[in-house]
């Protein structure tokens, strides 16, 4: 080791040590692998909690619970819906995300647009698809430029329920 040709190695060692010292301070100390092993789960463990703690925007879950949840306050309105037809649509799909709505009952941003109805009610000639069982119209010819809710009642969509 006395020969001068080893000098570059010392430089490299100093560099590596500097890098490792830097690493010691730079890398969060909860970096490690979960039970899936190094290949699939080498990560900063605390990141899992960060994802878990993200605030949710859409509230209650599932069709049944959603209607229960909303009717606790809005019972009169929610009863209007018919179980068969639009009853399957979760309230928040049209009324917007309502996670904090009961605590902070600000007005929700309700989507009354034509486009919202057309998601399901554009007639598509797909006889093999469930889509075919939904009544559909041709948006280019059916009362163009008029919002659907002008005539149809979204909570009671049968044609008898028309406004």
């Amino acid at each position: 080791m006395k020969s001068h040709v080893w000098r570059p190695l010392y430089v490299v060692i100093v560099f590596v040590v500097a890098l490792l010292v830097f690493r010691f301070f730079y890398v969060p100390n909860d970096f490690g692998s979960g039970k899936r092993g190094f290949m699939y789960s080498y990560h900063r463990i605390s990141n899992e909690m960060e994802w878990k703690n993200q605030p949710a925007k859409y509230g209650v879950s599932g069709r049944e619970r959603m209607h229960e949840y909303c009717s606790a306050c809005h019972g009169t309105v929610v009863k209007v819906r018919t179980e068969k037809l639009h009853g399957i649509i979760p309230c928040e799909d049209c009324h917007g995300p309502a996670m904090n709505h009961p605590e902070k009952p600000e007005k929700l941003n309700i989507d009354r647009s034509r486009g919202l109805c057309l998601r399901c009610h554009t007639d598509l000639p797909y006889t093999t698809s469930e889509r075919h069982r939904i009544p559909g119209i041709n948006p280019k010819t059916h009362n163009t430029g008029v919002e659907c809710v002008k005539c149809h009642n979204p909570h009671n969509p049968s044609l008898e329920g028309m406004k």
Binding site: H4, V5, P8, V12, L19, Y26, F31, F38
Partner: protein, 431 residues
């Protein structure tokens, strides 16, 4: 107005240069664009330049002495540039250090920092061993100088630092340098091949990509890396020699006024031998690279697995010009014929090296961009349009000017490195 700005910000990465056709999945774009073409191209040049220099240092091919020294310094200048396209490509360039901090070794990219730094230290060590005597002599000369200017002082300090405190330049000590240098070059060759072969592994191991996934990829990458590296060294060497010849004739440069500086005729003679011999090696590696590439293509066509339908359309129809005309014909076949025809001259070889470099670049392009030219659904295509006039940072970085920056940098670096580590050092005494 606010909405407009919001709309503009909503252009997702890749959308600016990707044109989708038929059915492509919503999240599919050409995410790896020109900088990722530059990355294997530049690392290839580094590896190739180093292999050329090792031919002299390890195998003692005396005739390559001058070009070997030149390629060693040049590969040092190329080193930082192998990293540049990757950094330019990252969406979070300042987090690039994470690759060294928490390397996830099941990823082919994770080893990059470590392999790259190992390789860099090998090249630097080798240069130090080759140039130590020069460093010591220059530093001593500067120290002995009576009235030093600011610049002289600065140079003196740099050279003193460069000696790393090893001032012994007795013949025995220099002999030790030579021995160690040979060992370093010997270690360097596998590391250089690894550095580049594993760039091939980065692509070859992506199982989701039908075009990239082949075990031949690393080998193909190494061969074409050596081809491009040798070609670039020959080309740059010829250009630099022409400049030196010009300066020797017109007595422009300071060093040309030295009595023992080589004359124009002498330079011409050296250039001829060096170019002829290194271009032979170029030919060998070209044959290997072409064989492997064609083998890969034949295999795909013959086995016709699920992906072949869409690959055939990309290779044989959409990218036909880029692959068969630009890459194989102009970039491989023409220079190959130019070099094997009898009566080869330096000029013809130089033209051939330009074509070879272009061919290797097109190969990288066709692999990187071609691999993303079709949808994972096998039902649609994506067309790449290189951004030429940049309108924001991203289209600059991943556009024509970003690529040009990467190409120009090694030459600029070489200019500055050459000030301290002269690539054309005439050994005056102690032979």
């Amino acid at each position: 107005m606010v909405e407009q700005i919001a709309q503009q910000a909503m252009v997702v990465h890749g959308e600016a240069w990707t044109i989708k056709e038929l059915f492509t999945l919503p999240n599919e774009y050409i995410y790896w664009s020109i900088q990722i073409v530059m990355y294997p191209f530049m690392t290839g040049l580094v590896a190739g330049a180093f292999v050329l220099s090792s031919l002299y240092h390890v195998f003692g091919i005396e005739k390559l002495k001058e070009i070997a020294r030149f390629s060693l310094v040049f590969s040092f200048a190329l080193l930082p540039v192998a990293m540049m396209p990757l950094t330019l490509h990252l969406q979070q360039p300042f987090r690039g250090i994470n690759v060294l901090m928490t390397p996830h070794f099941t990823s082919a990219i994770a080893a990059f920092g470590i392999v790259f730094l190992t390789y860099a230290s090998i090249v630097a060590t080798e240069i130090w061993l080759v140039y130590r005597k020069y460093f010591v002599e220059t530093a001593q000369a500067l120290m002995a100088m009576p009235n030093r200017t600011m610049i002289d002082n600065f140079r003196m300090m740099v050279f003193q630092a460069l000696t790393l405190g090893a001032w012994d330049i007795s013949p025995e000590a220099v002999e030790k340098d030579h021995k160690a240098c040979k060992i370093m070059a010997g270690i360097g060759i596998p590391v250089a091949c690894f550095l580049h072969g594993y760039a091939g592994f980065i692509f070859g191991s992506v199982k989701a990509n039908a075009l990239w996934m082949t075990p031949l990829m690393p080998v193909i990458f190494i061969c074409s890396a050596v081809v491009s590296g040798v070609a670039l060294c020959i080309l740059t060497y010829v250009i630099v020699q022409e400049i030196r010849k010009y300066m020797a004739r017109s007595n422009m440069a300071r060093w040309a006024k030295d009595s023992d500086a080589p004359g124009a005729e002498e330079l011409e003679a050296i250039k001829h031998t060096e170019v002829m011999i290194s271009s032979n090696y170029l030919l060998y590696f070209m044959i290997a690279a072409m064989t492997l590439e064609i083998l890969d293509l034949i295999f795909r066509g013959y086995t016709q697995v699920k992906s072949w339908d869409i690959l055939r359309e990309v290779i044989m129809e959409r990218d036909f010009t880029k692959i068969f005309i630009l890459q194989y014909l102009i970039g491989n076949l023409v220079p190959f014929v130019m070099m094997i025809l009898p009566g080869r001259t330096v000029r013809r070889t130089t033209v051939a090296t330009v074509l070879v470099l272009f061919g290797v670049f097109m190969m990288r392009y066709n692999v990187v961009i071609g691999g993303q030219a079709f949808s994972l659904s096998f039902a649609g295509f994506m067309d790449y349009h290189l951004p030429i006039i940049p309108h924001d940072l991203e289209t600059f970085k991943e556009g024509l000017f970003g690529a040009l920056t990467v190409i120009v940098t090694p030459f600029v670096l070489f200019y500055f490195i050459n000030k301290f580590i002269p690539a054309f050092l005439e050994e005056k005494s102690t032979h």
